[in-house]
Point group: C2
Chain length 160, copies 2
DNA sequence: CTATGTATGTAATATCATAACACGTCAAGA
DNA sequence: TCTTGACGTGTTATGATATTACATACATAG
């Protein structure tokens, strides 16, 4: 996964999204989990853009498409996707974003542009290793980590 | 700041808290900001333990002490403390914790024990540097970062 | 002493999230 | 085949977190 993050660069997004969806199907199948219509649709919605969507945003979309319109519908699908590693929760935004490379073991960091709100998934193996090491110095065992950055993406930086 | 984190170790907490409070007064004075009764009290409350408190927890305490009992009272004081670098927001918990070494420039990471809920502030300079570097590869400029770990503290690890 | 900016108090409301229960579907085993 | 149990979905209701807007009080510079 050596590519610096694509989210900010012009790219064939239809392909990017389709590819992620295909891999998602494979991941769920391998896990013996069920990729139901709601779940697939939520993932598709998240894949439409490199942004993070709140549960209620997703819910509104679902509701117009004939799915349930109560919060648990969205939260359950999102929770499922996160558990399967197909989506990530962005703590800073109370929102969710599709995983760009599902199925691969990875330590993600998220780069959140404060201007255009694009969210890029970056590689955080090194940062995570530092965190683990520093935690170990205190005798703390890290199980899950949240690494998020707020700042300016290259595009918005150019305009400032 | 070479000390591995104290939060998990037995220590003279009264001194630890008093020291932080003293430094906090100095910080606000230097910044030309006002350390008012509500603000001081909120900081004292946060300093009582190495835990994170929700805004409503703080608010409940304030209310019993004759301060206002509406959410903005707590949120404003907390926001002030965070701005001054005297407290930190723990995104994962939607909660706040007092800064252990106010006044010093530092890149904090937070170690959150999932069992005893102690929150330790660790040094994250290295992790932050990795994050900045990886972000730079994508042309992203980091302004603020959130680095949090969820796991087991040494004490709770011993009991498991 | 008074004008100005800042802090506090309060009401109302917005936003985010979960508990609890009912119903439907599907597949495994009696 | 029938039944049972696990799982997914839908819905109601509620809980938890956070902000907007406006009124009042207070400190300090002029």
């Amino acid at each position: 996964m050596p590519d610096p993050d694509l989210a900010f660069a012009a790219h064939d997004h239809a392909h990017c999204a389709h590819d992620a969806l295909t891999r998602a199907e494979a991941v769920t199948a391998a896990a013996g989990a069920r990729m139901t219509p709601v779940r697939r649709r939520v993932l598709e919605i998240l894949l439409e853009e490199h942004k993070a969507l709140g549960a209620y945003d997703v819910l509104a979309r679902l509701a117009t498409e004939g799915f349930g319109n109560q919060p648990p519908v969205a939260y359950r699908a999102l929770e499922f996707l996160v558990e399967q590693g197909l989506a990530h929760r962005i703590q800073r935004l109370n929102a969710f974003t599709a995983c760009v490379h599902p199925g691969q073991d990875h330590a993600p960091a998220f780069l959140i542009c404060r201007t255009c709100h694009t969210v890029a998934e970056a590689e955080a193996t090194a940062a995570r290793a530092s965190l683990d090491a520093e935690a170990a110095r205190a005798g703390f065992q890290v199980e899950r980590s949240t690494i998020e950055a707020l700042g300016l993406c290259p595009n918005c930086r150019g305009q400032a």
